[in-house]
């Protein structure tokens, strides 16, 4: 029996689909390639140490130190986690363990909608409401680590909630029933059995939340004040890696632009490490 036309079409389509599937890898490769091509020469010329550990950023005068920005990025992220992680986890626990079916039906999409609000809107509301509040009640200009951490804390909530929630929901029912049968209250069950069982997923949600926070740009530019020094207090302004790129990219040329791509390289590496960590943490659990 000869192969008919349909089978031939099937083969052609299979190859087309395969090309589609490889496009993602191709794009990833392109992104890496071009950011590295633009970013690496400066590391070579100026020296890795002078960029990563350098304190002075004055690209038009030949200084490309981004150490304060790396530190600031992490400070902002940690601040966001301090605010967002407990809140997000609490919401996830509530959704997974406490909320009734009807409430869940309304709450879960509502919490996910938080992710839909554009980051510029978060930044704007931060400038209008949070920055003046901080200025009035805490001091400083208000454009500060604190303001950025608050805004980012809210922005990472959807990530933390949805991934923690999935982790909590994947804890087998029998664990809960076993604990409840022994006379534990619901909270004791949740606290001592369910949360520990879901801990790796929860940890992954925190790591991915960190990734979201460290990569956020527009909201941070608007509320962080963008000063070039490592902040001495939570009321000091600071500049993250992302805002450094966005603030100066439109203006930059020559070495200045290369410097911004070097900033991008560092950011890319940090993000990749965080993603890998999150993956690793989740997989760790599966192997167990």
């Amino acid at each position: 029996m000869p192969k008919n036309r349909a089978v031939l079409i099937d083969q052609i389509i299979k190859q087309t689909m395969r090309i589609c599937a490889f496009s993602s890898l191709f794009f990833l490769f392109l992104i890496f390639l071009f950011i590295l091509i633009e970013g690496l020469p400066l590391f070579y010329r100026v020296g890795v140490g002078n960029i990563i550990a350098g304190f002075k950023w004055a690209p038009t005068k030949g200084a490309f130190g981004i150490f304060p920005m790396i530190v600031s990025s992490f400070l902002v992220t940690i601040g966001a986690l301090i605010l967002g992680a407990p809140l997000g986890l609490a919401c996830a626990v509530y959704l997974a363990e406490y909320a009734g079916k009807k409430k869940k039906l309304f709450l879960k999409p509502a919490l996910e909608l938080l992710a839909g609000i554009p980051s510029v809107v978060y930044g704007f509301l931060g400038v209008i409401y949070i920055v003046p509040l901080i200025r009035t009640y805490c001091g400083g200009s208000g454009f500060s680590l604190l303001a950025a951490a608050i805004v980012l804390g809210v922005m990472i909530l959807p990530t933390v909630i949805s991934i923690s929630y999935d982790a909590l929901m994947s804890v087998p029912r029998t664990y809960r029933e076993g604990s409840l049968a022994m006379g534990a209250t619901k909270w004791q069950t949740t606290y001592r059995v369910v949360i520990p069982a879901a801990s790796s997923g929860i940890l992954a949600s925190f790591i991915l939340g960190m990734g979201r926070a460290i990569g956020e740009t527009m909201a941070v530019i608007m509320v962080a004040g963008n000063a070039l020094r490592i902040p001495g207090s939570i009321l000091d302004p600071l500049r993250t890696l992302t805002s450094n790129i966005a603030l100066e990219l439109a203006y930059a040329s020559g070495d200045h632009r290369l410097g911004l791509f070097s900033t991008g390289v560092v950011l890319l590496i940090i993000i990749m490490i965080l993603n890998y960590l999150a993956n690793f943490v989740i997989r760790q659990k599966v192997i167990k």
């Binding site: 029996m1 008919n4 349909a6």
Partner: protein, 251 residues
């Protein structure tokens, strides 16, 4: 009587575990051949080999020959798509596609390239009549097939198979989930259909095999224990195991 399907020395294994051992069997044209046997006896595996649906299982190895009209369908070079268009199959659970009754039945003909609505309607009507379903659904051909009852759905599946105008129809325990009335309707349809088709009916209901089939084969643990004309198998089985099974001593 002509032989439609010749099965020769057929062995199958799943991930190294044998499922069928060296089966040799002839299936006659325009007859209903019943395959019976307890769960795991290999009878369903055998029919999925005939239309090569077995290709969708993982870790399967097979050996031997199945010749339909003299052509070995287990040959890797065989066009399985064309093969399946010649061999209809009805599954244990009614599986209508989530679309209208008409579209369900027209699915096969459309794949063959028939697009003319008059032709399609003729095929649909004919198939539904053959499956004894037309009168029940003729006023609602465009409604969702999911809304039919279980028995109707199964007859729809039969009609959908008939619409392919196949030579052979394979039925894999088609009545296992149905009530006696629906079962009776399907059996009635089958006895009409054997005039035009070669039918293989897999069932673990021995009474159904006795009622409907012309030839019966008894499988046990992957082996063909006995094969012959149905009346003889049921009245005078030559093997002890066959007798025990028919009498309901195991299975």
């Amino acid at each position: 009587m002509d032989i439609k399907i010749q099965i020769r020395q057929l062995s199958v294994s799943y991930n190294g575990t044998p499922a069928l051992r060296s089966i040799t069997l002839d299936i006659y044209k325009n007859c209903i051949t019943g395959f019976m046997g307890p769960a795991g006896s290999g009878k369903s595996t055998l029919i999925t080999l005939i239309n090569r649906m077995i290709d969708f299982e993982e870790g399967v190895r097979y050996d031997g020959e199945i010749r339909i009209d003299g052509i070995n369908v287990l040959d890797p070079a065989v066009d399985v798509v064309a093969l399946r268009r010649r061999i209809g199959m009805v599954f244990a659970v009614p599986l209508p596609l989530p679309r209208s009754i008409f579209d369900n039945i027209a699915y096969g003909p459309r794949l063959k390239g028939i697009t003319n609505m008059t032709d399609l309607y003729a095929i649909v009507e004919d198939s539904l009549k053959k499956a004894f379903l037309f009168d029940e659904v003729k006023d609602r051909l465009m409604t969702s097939a999911m809304k039919l009852s279980g028995g109707q759905q199964q007859r729809l599946c039969l009609a959908r198979t008939l619409a392919l105008q196949p030579d052979i129809i394979l039925l894999d325990e088609p009545c296992s989930g149905l009530d006696p009335i629906s079962t009776a309707k399907i059996e009635e349809a089958l006895s009409e259909l054997k005039k035009d088709y070669t039918i293989i009916l897999v069932s673990n209901n021995t009474k159904q095999i006795a009622r409907t089939s012309d030839y019966a084969a008894f499988f046990y643990m992957g082996e063909l224990i006995e094969f012959g004309e149905t009346p003889r198998i049921f009245t005078n089985p030559s093997q002890k195991k066959t007798e025990d099974y028919i009498q309901g001593k195991f299975g």
